[in-house]
Structure formats: C-alpha cells, structure tokens
C-alpha cells in the first residue's frame, strides 16, 4: 500500500477532471463549515497530502459505523481519498484474517511508527479483558499497543467516543471510551450511532489538509458538532411559533410541526444531521418524522427515554454531557413556552392553519 499513487495521479487514472475535483473541494468546504475562499487551499492540501497509514480498530461494537462509512456516496472521490489514505488494517473490510491480518497491523505500525492514524470504533471492556478479543489479543491490549506509535486517534461512533451502548446502565462489561484509556495522544471524537458517513470522511479529509481540527469540550470537531440540530432544523419555525406535534399521526405530525413534545433531543444535541443529512443528503430522522434521539451526546441511552420531552424530569437516569447542560437553556425556554401555551393550546393543535395565521403569529 505504500506505493500507492498520489491523489492527483489517481484522479487522472480514473478520468476525473480538475473541475470535478474543484467541485468536490467546494462541497467539502461547505460540509466542513469552512469559507468558500478556502477551496483553493483545500484542493492544494489534498493534492499534496502525505498518505498516512490508517489502522482501523473495531472493538465492542455493532459494525454500524463501518457499514455507514462504506455507504458513503460510493463510488466517488471520497473513495479515492480512502485510497490515498493507506488503509492498512480493518478487520471487517480486509481480505486477510487471523495471524495474517495481525501481521499487516504490526507491519504498518513498524513501518510508520509515530506517523500513522488510528481509527477506533467500539468501546473497550475493562471489567474483564476477555469479554472482547481479536486474534487472542484483548481490546485493551490492542488499543494500548497500537496507540503507542500513533500520530493521532479518531474515535468513530458514540461507543468509541463515550462508551455508547456498551457503557449504558448497568454496563456489564465495564465498557469505556478510548479517551479514558489513552491520555497522551490527540483524540478526535466523531460520535453518532452511527456518525454521518460524510462527517467521518470529512474529518479524515480535514486531518489530511489542515491537521487536527478545532475541537469542542467533548473532543468533537466544531465544524460538524458546533451547532445543535435544533438550531439548524427546518422545523424550527414551528417551535418558535409554539406549534408541536402531539402524537405520531396527528395533524401536526403530518404538517411537519416541531417534534419537541414527542421527545426530540435536537435542542441539546450537537450534530450536522440537519444540514449534511443522511443517505446522500436525502433526509435525516426529524425530516422522516421521528424525534432526534441525541446519539452524538454522551450517555444518550440513559437520558430518561427517547420519547419523553426534554422538559420532563428524567430522574436519576439523566446523565447529560457538558454540551447537553449548555443546551439546557434552550430546553428551559421551550419548557416555559409550553407552560405558557397550556392546555388550550394543545387542544388547538388540530386546528387548520393557513398561511395568514402563520404570518400573523410570527
């Protein structure tokens, strides 16, 4: 893999024009929330980027993150970027298995010591390392051994970033996040269950072009996790007008009203779902009529129920992350709004609303 051609040569081989590359860089700048003026720099950096060896470790996980990233607009230039990154170990995707696969990992580590990138999906069980092993090596040992020579670590998915479903109460395996074990390497968290495919490739592209991106207090790239889903939601105008769906089949639900009362965690969840969207930009959960579960936030499994509004106390189970606490202000505003609206407002939720009503209430 070390002899792979550079991206510009790959583009030429595949008959991809410079114009197409510029288009890709333009869209990438948009996805990375960078100014369009950065496009020439992105193009230049991508063309001249060294191709770091990437070792992808899958621990206590469901393979959903890998499933997601392999469905990223294939085949496009993103695939080329993946070719340009030398993906030297990924036990789900690689043909080799057993000792041959481990030999590939060890070779890559030795060859690129101090320069390779480790991508991790899945949590690490520490109650008994035997709960999850690969080729007889415990996840804990493999992570420590591989991280030792890494330039950086990308924790992909909520399991690697925060412990995820394995960490959910009662956490039978003692599952923890990568950041709870590795303390001496830069770690980029790309949470989500799974993360948006283009966000995963976007973070890797950012690492290639400009190095470690600016991170928030939870280790997430601000470009993708800088704003709440609520702030970018197309249903936000309904929220601002106090128009909420009360059930999954009422007038409000059919009319695209805000799903706050049905448990939407958009106000306390930071992710690019509402702008980047899923399935090649087709839609995202809220657009499909389902409340946001808050899967990019720590302990979202234990936050008191997917269908309980944020304004309903969740009892002892609520363990909100820092971002969620920050977002509490938004929840407070929403709670006050709901209280003000009261019972009479709820009863009116099924009334016909026309354009003039909306204009008057704005």
């Amino acid at each position: 893999m070390a002899n792979k051609p550079m991206l510009s040569e790959l583009m030429k081989t595949h008959g991809i024009s410079r114009r197409a590359f510029i288009k890709y860089c333009t869209s990438l700048a948009s996805v990375m929330a960078l100014s369009p003026a950065m496009v020439p720099r992105i193009a230049e950096a991508l063309e001249n980027a060294p191709r770091p060896s990437v070792i992808w470790l899958s621990f206590q996980e469901c393979t959903g993150c890998t499933e997601a990233i392999t469905r990223s607009h294939a085949p496009t230039i993103e695939d080329l970027i993946f070719n340009a990154i030398s993906l030297d170990y990924h036990h789900t995707l690689q043909a080799a298995s057993g000792h041959a696969a481990e030999a590939a990992r060890e070779h890559a580590m030795k060859e690129h010591y101090g320069k390779y990138v480790v991508v991790v999906d899945g949590s690490i069980p520490i109650k008994d390392p035997g709960y999850s092993c690969i080729a007889g090596i415990s996840n804990l040992d493999m992570l420590k051994e591989t991280a030792a020579g890494a330039a950086a670590i990308v924790s992909v998915g909520t399991c690697a970033a925060y412990g995820g479903v394995g960490h959910a109460d009662p956490n039978p395996t003692g599952a923890v996040a990568v950041s709870e074990i590795i303390k001496d390497k830069p770690i980029i968290n790309v949470p989500g269950c799974p993360p948006i495919p283009v966000v995963m490739t976007g973070v890797l592209a950012h690492f290639l072009t400009f190095g470690i991106p600016e991170l928030d207090e939870l280790g997430r790239p601000k470009a993708f996790f800088g704003e709440s889903i609520h702030d970018r939601c197309y249903r936000r105008p309904f929220y601002d007008k106090g128009m909420f769906a009360e059930s999954f089949d009422d007038e409000g639900a059919r009319g695209g009203w805000c799903l706050y009362k049905l448990g939407c965690k958009g106000p306390t969840t930071k992710s690019a779902c509402a702008t980047v969207k899923w399935n090649n930009g087709v839609s995202f959960p809220i657009e499909a009529g389902h409340p946001c579960l808050g899967c990019t936030e720590p302990d979202f499994w234990d936050n008191g129920g997917f269908y309980k509004p944020l304004s309903v106390p969740a009892g002892d189970y609520r363990k909100l992350g820092l971002a969620a606490v920050a977002g509490g202000a938004a929840a407070g505003v929403a709670g006050a709004l709901l209280a003000k609206a009261g019972k009479a407002k709820a009863a009116k939720a099924h009334e016909t609303v026309d354009a003039h009503d909306l204009e008057k209430s704005s």
């Binding site: 030429k12 410079r18 114009r19 890709y24 369009p36 607009h73 309904f238 016909t352 204009e359």
Partner: protein, 144 residues
C-alpha cells in the same frame, strides 16, 4: 387514521403553508448580496455565499427566488453528478447548485462574480485535453 377525512390537509395545502414559513434570514442575505455586487463593480472583488451555512426555511427560499429571479444563462455541468449554474435576473449574481451522482444535493452557493470559476476550463484539464488531442491525431496519422 382516515386519510380521506375532510380534516386531513392535502399535501399541496401543507406545502403552501410551509412555503410561507420563514426564518427571516432572506432579507439580510439579499442585502449582503447587494453589498457584494457593489464590491464587485467598485473593486473587482468576487464573493461566494454558502447557502448550506444559513438556516433557511421554504419561505426564505421563495423570497430569495422571487427577488433574484431567473436570468439569461443556465449551464448544466456533468461533473461527478450534475451541477447547475444559473445567472439570476440580477446580472453578476449566480446560483450554483451541486448534485452528486445520485441526483442528491451536495452544496448550494450564491456567487457574485462576472464568471463563476466552475465554468472556466481548468488549466490541468486543458493540458490533459492537449495530450488527448495529440494522441487522437497520432492515431489518425497511424491509420492512414
């Protein structure tokens, strides 16, 4: 649920209602475009606005379309999916929409410029073109 109930709004009605929902961001954006157009004329400075970076509701889209209108030029590009480059009825202001190979939207921009860069032939592409043309001419010679 009775889908034929008279209380059930038709999709077109809902779309109509939605088309009036506005975040209020269209007017400031139009002023930004006006300022950028002034900069283009006075200082030859081009500007690009990423529409994906601005919360926009259907009502904002409608206002933007209504005010900018449709101009004289519409170019369709086949570059890893389609791209549409349209000059608006305000010359110098262009709408650029990039789609992927599945026809899904990738990114959307407004460019304030005399000619969007994406329409120009890129130098490296022209170099490849020169090579290609030379090879084809050589092939013609060989076949004679």
């Amino acid at each position: 649920m009775d889908c034929n109930s008279p209380n059930t709004k038709k999709t077109s009605d809902i779309d109509d209602v939605l088309s009036f929902v506005s975040t209020g961001n269209a007017i400031p954006l139009l002023h930004e475009i006006k300022h950028a157009l002034g900069q283009l004329l006075e200082n030859n400075v081009t500007s690009t606005i990423d529409l994906g970076a601005i919360p926009f509701a259907p009502g904002d889209e409608r206002l933007l379309d209504d005010v900018l209108g449709i101009g004289e030029v519409h170019a369709a590009l086949a570059v890893m999916g389609e791209s549409h480059v349209r000059e608006t009825a305000v010359p110098g202001v262009w709408r650029i929409d990039h789609f992927d190979e599945d026809g899904e939207i990738q990114s959307r921009f407004i460019e304030i410029t005399f000619m969007p860069d994406i329409l120009k032939t890129q130098r490296t592409d022209a170099e490849t073109g020169l090579e290609t043309l030379s090879q084809r001419l050589n092939a013609l010679d060989d076949n004679r």
